[in-house]
């Protein structure tokens, strides 16, 4: 199961960059399900269309997860803009996620 959600390109010229993310989950483990929901909410609220998210199910693509250094699930990797950041957990702590993604200021 691989879900790709590319919610458009850079939505408005005002938002300079698109946030590219990858979320590693393990099937429908409770934490993984929660992480998807939490991230969805954050993206909807703060990024609108200015992001690109790929969800990788480790059950289906273990080799890829291995290659990308995933150890625990769920974990979220911000690929760009740099710096690359990793967040582990079900993303229930919204503040930490926003901080890691560098999108704190956009809410306003």
């Amino acid at each position: 199961m691989q879900r790709k959600r590319a919610k458009g390109k850079a939505a408005s010229p005002a938002v300079a960059t698109v946030v590219v993310m990858r979320l590693y989950i393990s099937g429908n483990a409770p934490n993984s399900v929660r992480a998807i929901a939490n991230l969805d909410a954050i993206c909807k609220e703060y990024l609108k269309d200015g992001y690109k998210l790929e969800i990788v199910d480790v059950f289906e693509q273990p080799a890829r997860a291995l290659a990308e250094g995933v150890i625990v699930t769920p974990s979220l990797a911000k690929v760009s803009p740099s710096p690359a950041v990793k967040v582990v957990g079900n993303l229930s702590d919204k503040g930490n996620v926003l901080l890691a993604l560098g999108i704190e200021g956009r809410a306003g």
């Binding site: 393990s26 483990a29 997860a65 699930t73 702590d93 996620v97």
Partner: protein, 601 residues
Amino acid sequence: MKRQQRMIPQPSTKLPTGIEGFDEASGGGLPRNRTTLVMGRAGSGKTVFSLQSIVNAARQRREAGLFVAFEESTSQIAQNAATFGWGLSALPKSKLFFLDAHLSPTVVRSGEFDLTGMLAILKAKKEEMGARWIVFDGIDVLLTLLQDPNAEMREIYRVREWLSDNELTAIITAKLDGRTLDVAPYGFMQFMVDCAIRLERRLEDGVSVHRLQITKYRGSGFAAGEFPLRIGSSGIEVTGPAPAEIRHTSSTERVSAGFERLDSMLGGGLFRGTSTLITGAPGTSKTTLAAKFAESACRRGERTLFVSFDEGADAITRNLSSVGIQLKAHVKSGVLRMYSGHTEANGPDEQLIILRSLVREHRPRCMVIDPLSAIAKAGALGTARDVASRLIYMLKDAGVTVVTTSLIQGDDPEVEATELQISTIADTWINLSYLVRSGERNRALTIVKSRGTRHSNQVRELVLNETGPMLTDVYTAGGEVLMGTLRWEKEAEETVRQKQRRTEFDHKKRELQFAEADALAQITALEIELQRKRAELALYSHHDEARSLSSTERNTDLRKLRSADPVAHRATAASLGNGRAASGSPNSGKKKTRKEARDAT
């Protein structure tokens, strides 16, 4: 079903770790397809233990394994492992796979997570490689990240389920200190595993003591107690338990104790594969005696190991050469291995492990440890005693004939029993002491005991000269064995007495020779006399014959002339001839003939 099986693992279902001593202590290794927990503080050797096991499995039995490192990065681990010379880099990736599960400190935490993803990755890798082993090294680091006791418990349970589903022989290491040992989740972890091992490094009397203890082994017996452990140049070595049953066979073969006179005191020498203890005060030449044993073994071409402490091998060989013991050539030929250790550098445990690996390397038939008491120098006495007896048993098992020395202060070995109590396990005990008498100190040698041997009970004087140690002849006076000058005096006295005896004998012999010669001379003189008499007799007989013949002729002539009766004449001549023929002995003949001759005239 599965769970029931797990409860009763068969003894045959063990996989050896290949770690020296551990497989003996655990009765064969780690439980196959079960989980083993290795606990210990930082630096107690958990990572080395687990890595060594998995590397050995890959190298020796081609069993593939996964190594999941939570604490250190895999490059760090590889670097550390490289120092042990296990040829880790030569192992193909298909046999040993490292997963760097070490979370970078820059990782942001947000909410709960679990290990399902990691386990999925590992399962895929396991199936790809056909792995049979897995190590989770430093699982405590991961658990700490969970920051929730319930989550910790849940994840441990998850790992356990995963392991049993995947039929992997697993080693989980966890860094613990005294406080966390019995606290959840570690208490639960100890319960859930089939085998639990504790590694501990602590200070005892100022010496680092490193121990391994098996605290649990489900469905299997194991050696209880703490076992000395050492991380040496080739990894972990554990000193396994001393066998409860003594297995070594006893030999009736005798090995020279060094020189003939000592051998005869021992009833022919030492039995092969036995241990001998030489005790004595400083300077009583314990080393020399032990070295003589080593030298005689080398001369027979038997591989020999000479272990000494706190003195360089060079200095020892030099000192020994001054008393006629030449070891250099034997070192050169490889028969003799000299090892000189530092007592302060290592605790008793480590000394034991070092000596064991030396024995394994050199494979000696004879060995000297000079002094055995050196291993008690650093560290607790109880440990040292234990180590000393383990060492002796190990050597006996290996069939090594060993001579050890031990320093004692004082003169009475019975009272002054050696610190290590080694005298109880030594088969032969030779005590050297100084006897002070008549203003001299002389070395005295006594055999306190020698199992299975009718040994001499005499106190003998030991002297050292340029040809080595020597036992002098025994001189006793008033029930005391004489030594030193007293012995020398006695020896000199004996020599004088012997000389006297010899002179007397010579004198008597000569006298008798004279008498013999005299008698012979008399015999010769008589012989000559006899010859003379015989000659005389012969002369007389000749004359007589001549005379009687001439008178007969004359008578005949006269008769012829007178024309007398010839018959009467013939009768006279015949009676004369008969009388001569009857005379048997010359003497009687002589007399007769003389008489006849006279009558005839």
